[in-house]
Symmetry: D4
Subunit: 135 residues, 8 copies
Amino acid sequence: MRDSRNVFHLAVPCIDLDEAYDFYVTGLGCKLARRYKDRITVDFFGDQLVCHKYPEKTTKDSELEMYPRHAGITFYDKNHFDDLIALVGSRKLKYYEKPFVRFEGAAEEHHSFFLIDPSNNLLEFKYYKDSRMMY
Amino acid sequence: MRDSRNVFHLAVPCIDLDEAYDFYVTGLGCKLARRYKDRITVDFFGDQLVCHKYPEKTTKDSELEMYPRHAGITFYDKNHFDDLIALVGSRKLKYYEKPFVRFEGAAEEHHSFFLIDPSNNLLEFKYYKDSRMMY
Amino acid sequence: MRDSRNVFHLAVPCIDLDEAYDFYVTGLGCKLARRYKDRITVDFFGDQLVCHKYPEKTTKDSELEMYPRHAGITFYDKNHFDDLIALVGSRKLKYYEKPFVRFEGAAEEHHSFFLIDPSNNLLEFKYYKDSRMMY
Amino acid sequence: MRDSRNVFHLAVPCIDLDEAYDFYVTGLGCKLARRYKDRITVDFFGDQLVCHKYPEKTTKDSELEMYPRHAGITFYDKNHFDDLIALVGSRKLKYYEKPFVRFEGAAEEHHSFFLIDPSNNLLEFKYYKDSRMMY
Amino acid sequence: MRDSRNVFHLAVPCIDLDEAYDFYVTGLGCKLARRYKDRITVDFFGDQLVCHKYPEKTTKDSELEMYPRHAGITFYDKNHFDDLIALVGSRKLKYYEKPFVRFEGAAEEHHSFFLIDPSNNLLEFKYYKDSRMMY
Amino acid sequence: MRDSRNVFHLAVPCIDLDEAYDFYVTGLGCKLARRYKDRITVDFFGDQLVCHKYPEKTTKDSELEMYPRHAGITFYDKNHFDDLIALVGSRKLKYYEKPFVRFEGAAEEHHSFFLIDPSNNLLEFKYYKDSRMMY
Amino acid sequence: MRDSRNVFHLAVPCIDLDEAYDFYVTGLGCKLARRYKDRITVDFFGDQLVCHKYPEKTTKDSELEMYPRHAGITFYDKNHFDDLIALVGSRKLKYYEKPFVRFEGAAEEHHSFFLIDPSNNLLEFKYYKDSRMMY
Amino acid sequence: MRDSRNVFHLAVPCIDLDEAYDFYVTGLGCKLARRYKDRITVDFFGDQLVCHKYPEKTTKDSELEMYPRHAGITFYDKNHFDDLIALVGSRKLKYYEKPFVRFEGAAEEHHSFFLIDPSNNLLEFKYYKDSRMMY
């Protein structure tokens, strides 16, 4: 178990701060911690995500691939994973990859799906049947 | 506070798996969770870091910049931050940016330093005087 | 998650301390922390509610409205929400607004009901299907 | 101890949503959970504060008094109380009542101060020497 | 919620230390913390029970009554309450009062039963449907 | 560590409910959970104490002794123990036995004091230097 | 409950470090904390297991018995016990003793199975119906 | 962090159950969970230690070595480590190896000492300056 008082922080480039706000806060239901001229900081499922305005550093559509760069949350509780799928549906967020099962039958079996933010950052959310396999 | 049972996961490219292992496990003291042919997974301060072997996707030296892409941990407890600095010293890990204070005197005042892994992924570690400012 | 060791405190006017005691302690099952000549302090579902004797500051019946002034608890656990409804029934407390569902089908969907204390302070209790929407 | 998974919610009137945002998010460092046309919802030190746009329901300057209506947080940890005082200073937030000690020498001895939001809602923050007296 | 690091301690008279040991440790499954010549100390469901050898201070059979003197544990989790009933059955411990329901239909409804130790100390174990009513 | 969600409950006789209320709630700062005609229930440092009106069952002054019957709290945190001593002083509660050190130099070394309620029930409060010795 | 911040550590002999790594990390899904020339250290279900290279100190096949030397984990949550059985199946780890029920019908009833590592160290995993019987 | 609700269990041979009881319960302050004809079970710093009566399986004096077989606790809190040293002193328990510092100046620096039980089982207790190095 990780320490609930620490925070993981991830900094990514974004094209436009308002778009990032719309996606993360209005869409995904993250809380906005701060907004400066050149970035917004959100409480991303308890961790910190900083979207820096660096349009030139974002991934081009032509270079977009699931691997190797993405980030996200692995939920311990299946309900929280399902709640997020319901939110994606009710708020019509865009899937990059719809929910699927990976490694079925193996110990590492898990549910996963990918979202994509307006700046081509890929987000993966997972749930493992066997919680020890979360790593 | 984040949920201690969930895990943040971050996937990044790496050039060589043995080098990644040496840096994260032998150097930084992270635990190795799994090793496959094409990636290693480490328990990075309680969260999950996956190093995928994708040399062509790593950041070139000439393109290396602190912003906008980096990731790391913000510690709640100053001792844990200081312990890490001591480890960097005793194990002679390479700083990308030595410990410094940012926003001194402001509410957001915090201590920070950057490490760099062998594949040019930047890692930032922080400690905030006012723990509410961690986001 | 909030810090379980901190306490939210809310101070409201009341007409009569005995009535307030009857409503909060005998009725709603809150614990009495202190009683002074001019106020009572109750442990309101883990937070602090202070009823100050200020009859002239209470809301008149003619001015009573659900918005914008009310306070209450959002429960994480549906059982605790249902237990409270059962208590309202068995102790015949007065609803200001009976249990209903708000924003059905949306991510923000939640169950809610309002009680009213003897001094016209409105209390709302809620349960969200998706716990991330509690804010 | 209260349950860290529940949330206290408080709804108050406000004059202007942008002003409320500036005070709570930019000033006090609360996180913005949601913004609608008629209200903003903030994560207020772990609990929920909703500012509803109801200018006509706000307290007039001439009616402003410390009692009986105010709300706030009592901190268990003195550092968190002091951090907030430092933030008030560095961000030049307006005190309604500067830090003082109430009931000195008594078991109920505590430190307190009041802030005032742009819509005349009073906020009290406290720290008790004897944590059992927080109620 | 109580503080999990504190301990409630209860000291009671007993006739014979071996009998007390047999009842509490061998029978009820409490852990023995210490044994001195004149007393034994047991970890009684997480709290501390000290049986002092004072035969002359124990309650006589003729004076034995359920009220006002007894002590025990109220379980939050119904499974723990049921586990204890199963243990009483499988180890043939003696009921002073078999499991029953008190205040059925009221908010205070709870399950209860009484055991009696070899020195006539009465032990009550309870489970409340509404956990807020545990006090 | 005990389970913070369970509650230890202790039922004792008392002579007069108002006196019991004055001692436990007004004096010792416990919270009143309920009051019936024949008893009061208080949240005694997180556990439950029920004072049943049974004057004839209370201990006579002539029979009053420290052993074998008493109950109380052992604090993990020395500050909480000291806070209680300060409260006893500022509210002029009556000691049955002033603070002393027992088993000095031994592993079991602890600080202790006894209070006495208006019905001759003895209360002991303790703090152990070595927290493993709390049992 | 044990303290989640402490760690139990167990040191055992092993014949070959690579074999130990294969069994514990690749097979059983433990995390590798460190590897030196003469030992590996793994995070064994949250506790620490050190395999020292001491072939001459390992148990010979002819001396292998279930008692008295073995070690393992007793799970509080039946799901975690079942997850491990599933992993043993999907990864084809070798049972020393297949899952069975011990003391059926008694308070001590529990599920158990034994694994054996490549150096003849026996590992027992258990789940008790009544969690108080875990000791 | 390990799961506070699980238990590590270690089974070891012992020569004599009374001697084992004297060492672990009376000496080391562990709680006795159960005693059968052929073994005793103790709550060893929150984990479970079972001493099975198997004199012929105990380590002979001539074969006694610190490595590779020993077990113990690594404390997170230095006070708990120091408390144990104080207990060893006041109760005159026998050191196998007095407190010393290992790997001084390295990240793995830790304090350690060894005790030996009456059946030649070696117990190591440790404290790491950098808590991440506990594994």
